[in-house]
Structure formats: C-alpha cells, structure tokens
Amino acid sequence: MNMQESEINRAFRTEVRAWMAAHLSGRFAALKHVSGLGAQGYDAQLAKEWEQELARGGWTGIGWEAQYGGRGLPLSQQLIFHEEYVRCGGPGRIGHIGETLLAPTLMAYGTPEQKARFLPGILAGTDYWAQGYSEPGAGSDLAAIRTRARRDETTGEWVIDGQKVWTSWAHESDWIFVLARTQEGAAAGGRHQGMVLLLVPLHQPGVEIRPIRQITGTSEFNEVFFDGARTEGSLHLGPVGDGWKVAMYLLGCERGASTLGQQAHFRHELELLLALARRNGAARDPLLRQRLAVVALGLQTLRSHALRALAADAPARVTLVSKYAWSNWHRDLGELAMDVLGDAGLLLQDDADLAALQQLWLVSRADTIYAGTNEIQLNLMAERGLGMPR
C-alpha cells in the first residue's frame, strides 16, 4: 500500500510474497495468472490441489476466528494477502464460494453441528460448494424462484424439485446451497416469505448438471436440475421460512477483502494491455494513449474507492457504487483491448497474453450482468443510496 503502511503490514506483505514464490512453482506454475473464469487451460483438479496447498500454508480462512481454525487476521492484512496473492500470479480461487460466501453465513446462522461438519472441509480445500439461487424465470427478480422443497414425512428429509441456473463450477463441486420455496413459514404472506436455504449434496441421482456454453465457448456455469433430490432434514441453514433473509446475508458477504484480489487481477490485465500497446505502437496513437491513461487512472480510482468503501463507517452511497464501477471499468478495458489489438484482434490469437486480452473482451460482458445487472445496481443506488422513491 502506498499510504501509512505499518511495519507489521510490510512484513506480512513480504511473508505472502515469499510463500507464493516458494509454492506457486513446479507443477503449480501452470496455474500462474489463470483467472479461472472460463479461462482456457484452467485445470480444475490442479486448482483443487492448489487450494489444499494454500490450506496447508495457512492461507485459507485467514480472517476466520481461531475457534473455526482461522488466523483471525485484521482486515488490512486480509487486503494485503488478496492483493499480493494475485500480484504473485495466484490463480482464480475455485473454493471462494465456500470460503467467502457460505462460511460466514454458516458462522452467523449455522447450528453447531453444521459448523463442525462443513467448515473444516472448506478450510482444508477438500469440499467445494456451488450456489443455487437464480432460475430461468428468476434472475434480477430473485424472489420469483419456483424451486420447491418439501419434507418427506417418513424420513424427515428435504425433497427438492426445480431448476437452478448460472451455478458456477457446479460440475466441480460437492455441495450446493439451494434457495427454495416451502410452505412452512409462508403464513405471513409476501413474496419473500416461506423460503428455505438448504445445503444439498450434488452427487446424488436426483441432481442433474448440464453445462452452459458461454460466449467464450467454454463452460464455467451450469444448469442444475433437481428432480426429487434429497438432503437431510437438519440441513436447512437458518430458520425455515426465513430463507430469504439468510440468502441475502450470504450475498452481503460478497463485498469484502477479496475485492483487492480482483483488482490485482485487473492490474495484471492492464499491464498486459500496456505492454502490448508499447510493443505494437498503439502507445504512440494520441487517442489510444488517452484511453489507456483513462483505464490506468480508473483502476487506481477503483482501488481508492475500495479502500474507502471497506471502512466500517462507509455509508451506503459509497459502498453501493462499487459493483457498478468495477464491472463497467472492466468492460471498457475489454473494449479498449480489442482496439489496441487492432488487426490482430480479428484473429484468434495463440500467444497467451493476446489470447487473455481477447478473453477479457468476451468475459467482461458478463460483469455488468451477473450478481446484479447494471440496471439493478442503478436502482439500488437511487433507492438505497439516494433515498429516491421506488
């Protein structure tokens, strides 16, 4: 960090760098700078082994309390870890849904048994989780979900029927948390009532996973079909009927220290682009120079903003801006990358750096859509950030 970084934090940063240099090598070197998100050459098996390597190094759950096996590091060091991790070429984290979304929700809402059963596998990088929220008819309007969960009176188990979509890595995961409708607790009425968040094993006959081919031609997302799928009667997370509240809590965990990791990845992409521009002469074009400066300064602003938004007392109007800002910045970066590529951008490139920039151009179209479209983000900013009427 450029500002007022303490001695302790500097030492910590050095520690992360040293560990990464020592361990992201050998067979793991193939994962260097691979983003994961539909990226070519992402070996999921190797990525899981890398997660276990991280776990052995004590780099998973670094912010978790000691009682859950974490290191209880302060936010500043979590930020440093995530930033340095990506700077050192650390690959996209296949375990992040479990570690950064489900685990905090388990800590907040889980029973002692659930915590004891699921947190260790997440921490060790042995159990992987997928997210079962969106449905074909419930995207921006998540409350329109139709997947149903009912109790099997004889076994007490939950039985699930329905369809989820946009489930990242479902084909590489062991478990999925599923937001579903149940009759229980629906008495109060309202479309946010009567839901339950269930923890469901993916490897069972009642679950079918079909990959969705993306704009890149690769498949990171899936459709998941539940046809009488089952899970134990105790595996609802939080109160039955209040699933919406639990589900929203989980989404709120997305904003966190890993933001800086994402930005470090953006920095890597930006550096690829600047290097290309210097090589192919685009850096001498007065107009492309301006646009390159815009994205470079823009990324620095995203970082300034993230550091401001992470402060505990940051108001909603500050934090609500972040997703819209980074996703649109990233999309702009992708468009600029193609213009800097010029003629070469018309051909599918073999060179890994050039191919990464072309991938960026395609992949970034999703950024303004998933996890709340631009339009939903603007609604939220106006209503919650500015208090404008619904």
């Binding site: 329109a144 081919r213 704009i215 468009e335 193609m338 018309l346 179209r365 859509i369 339009e375």
Partner: protein
C-alpha cells in the same frame, strides 16, 4: 429532394429480406458456422438471383445498378448474418469491374465476365484497413510473363475464395492488381481462425507464382487513381452491413425484453430498458440515413467521385451504431446474453470485427478533419 428509395430499390430490399428469412435463418447460420463459415448454397442462390451481378456494368453482362442497390442488399445480409462473402467479393470490387468494363477494352470485359459473373468467389485482397499495402512484388520474368512473390498477411473472406485479386508492388514502386485462382502453382492459402466466425480470413503467400499478362488487371496510375474512390465505396458498403447488424441487435433486444417477464411484467416495460432501446433506435436510424445518403451521392449523375466526407459520415455513424447496439443487445438479454446459445454474441463479434476493417472511426475522423480544418482552409486562403 427528400431522401427516399424508388420502388425498384424497395423491391430489391424486400425480396432480399424474404429470401434471407428463408435461406439464412438463425438455425441455418448456426449450422454454417459450425461447418466453417461459408454458406455455399446461399452464394449460389445469390448468383442465381443476380445479386452478384447487380452493380456490374451492363456492357459486361451485369445489371448496371449502383451502390444504393448494393447497400440495400448488404444491409439485409448484415441483418441476417448471411454467411457469404458478399462484401469482399461483390461490393468492394464493384468499382473495379466498372472501371475495367469502361476502360479495359475487350480484355477488361473478358476479365469482368470471368471473375465477377462466373459464379466463383473472387475476393479483393485488400489489407484489413482497406489499403493496397501489400508485402509483395511483381516482376517481369519473360517477354509476356510476370512473377509474383510475397505475403498478404490477413485477407478477409479469403479462406473460401476461388480466386483472388492481389495487389503487388512493381519495380517502379507503383502497384498492380493481379488476378489468380487459388489453385495457382506457388500460391499458398492458410486459413486463419477469426473472432467473427461468420467471416473467414487467410494468410496468403506467393512463391514464384507465374502471372500471365491478362491477369494483371490494372497497374500504375490507373490503379492508384481508382483505389481511393474504391475504398470510399467499400467503406459505405461495409457501413450498410453494420447498419443491418445494429438493426438486428435492436430487434433481438426488443423482442427478448418484451417477452421476458421479471417483477410481474415484461422487462421491456421498464423505462431504463425502453430508453436504452430508443437510444439504439437513434443510432440505427441516423446511421441508416447517413449510409443511404452516401450511396445516393455515389450514384448521383453529377457525383464528382470524391466521397470522403459521406464515406466518413457513413462509416463513423454505422460503426458506432453497430458497436453500441450489439453491446447493449447482450446487456438487455441479461444472463442468456452471454451464452453461446443465444445470438447476441454473433452480432457483437461481427460488429467488433467490422470496426477494425476499412479504417477505424478515428482514422476516418482524422481524414475528415484534414478536409474540414486543413484543406478547406488552404483552399479559402488561396481564393482570398
């Protein structure tokens, strides 16, 4: 004085739309894309319907129509993402055929008939930016024979070509345009994988390729003088394709958002979505107006041949329309917008590829600026 199509022109556009609705459906395009990107059946249909002969002069056996008619067809082809190299094999070389038919004598007429009207795909081997700029040399070897050596690193639509029109430098530094079949001995054609799968590309290499005098279609001053108007014509033609793609992206977005329900009503009834679609409409219709007027001016009897400003206008408006509309089409499709299965990304790829061909927006604006800010000023000062 209003800008309006005549009945014949309207009919051309409408019948093309009908044919393509049937022969270049979304399903068909998908099929062709999986199989390499050329719809040869559609190309043959295009030949049979006279589309490829539309702007070939009557004395050479063509229909003798103008850029306006080509533009209307090219727009429809863009709308339907038709997988035929109409731009590179019909629209771009049209001024060349006209020149050869008018000034090339009997051999010129024969060349036009052989290359433009025989049903083969004869691609104009421009550089990506529409310049002649080849890394190739044409040298006289024997009394009546020439030899061609060099590389054309990236020639659009060439992977599916039967014949090629390749520019090469003569020993005196001027250029010549050489017609060759792809079977010519010493000619290597290496297909390239493209971001826009609906338009092929190839790297071409010539090693001691023998060229007969008849195959040197044009050279020296004649070629140099033809090239700038040809590039402007081609830019207007490409702009028409972009208008078609932009309009289709708009149509897809409107159709999807009016069907897709969220929060108990069609997504298309939300004001933010409606306004985005309306902004797409503004872009599409302004670009269409620019392209149509540019084509009208090109076809006007008193056209001075200089279409720099109209071409710049058509290209900049159409490129922006295509980029904006195809990007927003993905956005307005939400989650399915970035799947392979839905069509928006096909148009998005086409729009990006088109934006880099025949000169970028920045390049056209700079050319226009030279005319508006530098040259007119000099001209006025000269008069004053």
């Amino acid at each position: 004085m209003e800008l309006r199509l005549n009945d014949e022109q309207k009919m051309i556009a409408e019948s093309a739309a009908q044919v393509l609705q049937e022969r270049s459906s979304g399903e068909r395009v998908r099929q062709v894309l999986e199989q390499g990107g050329l719809d040869r059946a559609l190309w043959q249909e295009a030949c049979a319907l006279g589309w490829t002969a539309l702007a070939v002069p009557e004395q050479a056996g063509g229909m003798g129509l103008g850029l306006t008619e080509l533009v209307l067809l090219q727009e429809q082809l863009g709308w339907h993402l038709a997988c035929i190299p109409f731009f590179d094999a019909v629209v771009a070389p049209a001024p060349l055929w006209r020149h050869l038919a008018q000034h090339g004598g009997a051999s010129g007429l024969a060349a036009v008939e052989r290359l433009a009207l025989s049903g083969q795909i004869c691609v104009l081997g421009m550089a990506v930016d529409g310049s002649l700029g080849a890394q190739a040399k044409l040298q006289r070897r024997t009394e009546g024979g020439w030899e061609l050596d060099g590389i054309w690193p990236q020639v659009a639509s060439a992977a599916h070509a039967d014949a090629l029109l390749l520019p090469a430098q003569l020993p005196d530094g001027t250029y010549a345009l050489v017609a060759l079949t792809v079977q010519a001995s010493g000619l290597q054609l290496q297909p390239q994988a493209t971001v826009d799968g609906s338009r092929s590309s190839a790297r071409i290499q010539a090693v001691q390729v023998a060229v007969s005098p008849d195959d040197v279609l044009l050279q020296g001053d004649a070629l140099a003088q033809l090239w700038e108007p040809l590039r402007q014509h081609a830019a207007i033609g490409l702009a028409a394709e972009q208008v078609g793609a932009a309009d289709r992206a708009l149509q897809l977005a409107v159709a999807y958002t009016c069907e897709r329900q969220q929060f108990g009503k069609p997504v298309g009834s939300f004001q933010a979505v409606k306004h985005r679609a309306a902004q797409m409409l503004v872009q599409v219709e302004l670009a269409r107006s620019a392209v149509y007027e540019a084509a009208f001016l090109a076809d006007a009897p008193d056209s001075a041949g200089d279409l720099l400003l109209p071409a710049a206008q058509a290209r900049t408006q159409a490129t922006q329309a295509a980029l904006f509309c195809t990007r927003e089409c993905i956005q307005l499709h939400g989650g399915v917008g970035f799947t392979w299965e839905y069509d928006p990304h096909l148009y998005f790829r086409r729009a990006q590829a088109g934006s880099q061909r025949m000169g970028t927006v920045a390049e056209w604006l700079e050319q226009a600026a030279v005319r508006l800010l530098d040259q007119q000023h000099e001209a006025k000062e000269a008069v004053a």
